[in-house]
Symmetry: C2
Subunit: 112 residues, 2 copies
């Protein structure tokens, strides 16, 4: 239940991990949904996969340092690590989000 994975420190983010995390359309979709900076509950993510698969994808995003997870009771909330990412890889997240929007990658992921 607890997101056992620790969040990697800012200076421990690896580019190839980020690229690998963003090579899946579903994960790009999750990032896009979080792009406005707001925190979202996992249950509010509309995703066409089972919950174990969603858990897996969120773990990948967390391990890559793209997102931060907070738990409150039995629910988990996730948000983008926008500032940390801008510090480590300036401009990267912005251009990725712009490209994803342009191509409409990950449109399968929506909010409730």
């Amino acid at each position: 239940m607890k997101p056992a994975n620790p969040h990697p420190d800012v200076d421990q983010l690896h580019l190839t991990d980020v690229m690998s995390a963003l090579s899946d359309p579903l994960r790009v979709g999750i990032v896009r949904v979080l792009a406005d900076g707001n925190e979202q509950a996992w249950g509010d993510l509309r995703v066409p996969v089972g919950k174990s698969t969603l858990s897996h994808h969120l773990k990948v995003l967390r391990a890559a340092g793209l997102t931060r997870t907070r738990e409150e009771g039995t629910r988990c909330y996730v948000r983008l690590r926008t500032e940390d990412f801008e510090t480590r890889f300036p401009g990267l997240l912005t251009s990725v989000l712009q490209a994803a929007h342009q191509e409409d990658v990950g449109a399968q992921v929506t909010l409730t």
Copy 2:
């Protein structure tokens, strides 16, 4: 021997393909070597893998639209599709290269 793979058109580049291509340190290294815009002969690429593996990686980069291959006699030359890429995904290649430089990803790849 001919790079049978066609080069994808500018409007057919997919973000996830690019991300997938750049999730391998060796391929990032190749891109970094080409970052100055100069064309390079394949044989001048110093890469710690066999020829068939290098051929495979260059095929992946070509299929993702990151590079363009030209053949001249028995030799092949490769260069970055910088302008095409800037047209399709503005700022993406720049920030990726900056991030790769900052982390020194793909330092295993050099020139003769």
